[in-house]
């Protein structure tokens, strides 16, 4: 973990409520896709944990959805600097991917899978991605995943684009070795139940510190209590208790 001052380079909407912010600063503590950063926002007490979408040299990209006061303030920022804790959480375990990993993202759970796809493709893996959204207007990053060379399926709950239904409705079209997923907990559970292959899920929880000190985000696993912020946010299929 590192604390750093990051300069805001851009902050642009991807749809009505999702924003992409590019920052520059010391990204050296970010070692693994699936990790997150914790951002101090003027006027608020607690930091806001946001997943890492991509790192390229000193450029850090995050994609966040406006869901409350913190992200609402973030969406209005256009320049200046942010105090950011980087390199938080365990991230995904790339060593288990096999030859044909499957990445499944739902809504604002999509962003961290981008850096993961990039790293896996760099390791010559044949990456399949399922992106799930409620409706066509909410879709983002389909083209970005395609540009990496991943095979991409998009599902929408209302059927306005791609496969109608949930991410699990696209599973039958895939033949993969291992899954990585991030999204709302009901989706994680559905993926967990619908898949026959092994994999891992990235969880979300309200956090105090984000670096393992306060026990604000604990959960029970088959191998004892874990802190989502420090021992997670990624948990292996075999340890999850729903």
């Amino acid at each position: 973990m590192k604390q750093g001052i990051f300069k805001i380079l851009s902050n642009t909407p991807l749809n009505a409520s999702v924003y992409k912010m590019v920052l520059s600063g010391d990204t050296s503590a970010i070692t693994n896709p699936g990790q997150f950063v914790n951002i101090k926002i003027d006027g608020l007490f607690l930091r806001r944990p946001i997943s890492v979408n991509d790192v390229d040299g000193d450029k850090l990209t995050i994609i966040y959805k406006v869901v409350g006061k913190g992200t609402e303030i973030m969406s209005t920022l256009t320049d200046g600097v942010l105090d950011v804790l980087t390199g938080l959480g365990n991230g995904y375990d790339l060593s288990l991917a096999g030859d044909r990993p499957l990445l499944i993202g739902g809504g604002v759970g999509v962003p961290p899978l981008y850096m993961l796809a990039k790293k896996l493709i760099a390791k010559n893996k044949q990456v399949t991605v399922i992106l799930g959204f409620n409706t066509k207007d909410e879709i983002f990053y389909e083209d970005e995943f395609k540009a990496l060379g991943a095979k991409v399926f998009v599902t929408t709950v209302d059927g306005s684009y791609g496969i109608k239904g949930f991410v699990t409705d696209a599973l039958k079209d895939t033949d993969c070795t291992y899954f990585y997923t991030c999204g709302p907990e009901p989706m994680l559970k559905a993926v967990y139940n619908a898949t026959t292959i092994d994999g891992e899920c990235s969880f979300e929880e309200r956090m105090g510190c984000g670096f393992g000190a306060c026990m604000g985000c604990s959960c029970k696993t088959k191998y004892g209590n874990k802190r989502i912020c420090k021992d997670g946010p990624v948990l292996k299929k075999g340890e999850i208790i729903w």
């Binding site: 607690l46 309200r206 393992g212 000190a213």
Partner: protein
């Protein structure tokens, strides 16, 4: 050259800065960030006789200038603390540490304290009779002078180390409780623990925290801490460890003027993991600004 040393119940501290229990784990998370030996000491995570998972999540809520937590004394139990956590703590911290103890009966407080009494590195036992997040335990001992005294006496019987009783601000008469602890043999008083608070999510119309209520801490409660430290320090003859919303060297000096011998930093560690390091670095500068040559001399400076 200013003197930041203070003496807490017979043990000299290089400076009065003590990370508060529950915000600093068993030290090693922060030791990855800076050399925690620069601290006066720290109070480790509240420890109970048996392992506890604590409350369901969400356990955390944002507030104006503060936060609510309802962790509920999650800890691995005193045996695991001694076997697994203290050896790790010892590797990154070479000073005496403050052992924070919680319980659900007088016997349990005494048992856990007696186990921790055998640990050389434990310098003080801080008895938490004020946790707002556990049903039927903790705070009830700290809201009644008689119970607070009973716990104090029971812990004093099983240890020769200085015993500090950590009090709740959620009471009508803090002085009577502090005095009862002093009468029971307490070597010091720590205050304030968190204030009972609650937030409601307007969209779901449900409490933000699964436990409904939790402990409110952070900068917003600092004036309450100053007031209660002042009241208690002027009513008892034992040292007071002040805490509640401290986030700067100025806050430390203010609490010491109110009557604190040492000062704990809690919620602010969670926002700025370098909070205590920053405060310790800033302290001599702020002392010079206010023409303070020795921190010992300002304790209870306000009459």
């Amino acid at each position: 050259m200013v003197d930041t040393k203070v003496n807490l119940c017979g043990i000299e501290l290089d400076n009065p800065i003590i990370p508060a229990s529950g915000t600093f784990g068993y030290g090693y998370e922060y030791a990855e960030l800076y050399d925690i030996n620069m601290l006066g000491t720290f109070s480790f995570k509240g420890t109970t006789k048996d392992a506890r998972f604590g409350n369901p999540t969400p356990r955390i809520a944002e507030c104006t200038a503060g936060m609510i937590n309802a962790v509920g004394l999650q800890n691995p139990g005193v045996e695991a603390v001694v076997k697994e956590e203290l050896p790790k703590l010892k590797k990154c911290f070479n000073k005496k540490v403050m052992a924070n103890v919680s319980g659900f009966s007088v016997e349990e407080y005494a048992y856990t304290s007696s186990v921790l009494d055998k640990e050389d590195q434990v310098g003080w036992i801080e008895v938490n009779v004020s946790c707002p997040n556990v049903h039927g335990g903790g705070m009830s001992f700290g809201t009644d002078p008689k119970s607070a005294r009973e716990v104090t006496e029971a812990v004093k019987k099983v240890t020769t180390k200085p015993v500090l009783i950590k009090l709740s601000p959620n009471v009508t008469d803090i002085v009577s409780i502090a005095k009862a602890c002093e009468d029971g043999g307490a070597d010091g008083i720590s205050l304030i623990n968190t204030m009972l608070g609650m937030r409601i999510n307007l969209r779901t119309r449900k409490p933000v925290i699964a436990n409904k209520m939790g402990g409110f801490s952070g900068s917003a409660i600092f004036p309450v801490a100053v007031r209660m430290v002042y009241q208690v320090a002027h009513a008892v003859d034992i040292p007071v460890v002040g805490m509640g919303g401290v986030s700067s060297a100025e806050d430390v000096i203010e609490l010491m003027l109110a009557g604190a011998t040492a000062v704990q930093v809690g919620a602010y560690n969670l926002v700025n993991p370098y909070a205590c390091k920053d405060i310790i670095t800033e302290l001599p500068v702020v002392m010079e600004k206010y023409k303070i040559t020795s921190l010992k001399e300002i304790i209870k400076g306000v009459k």
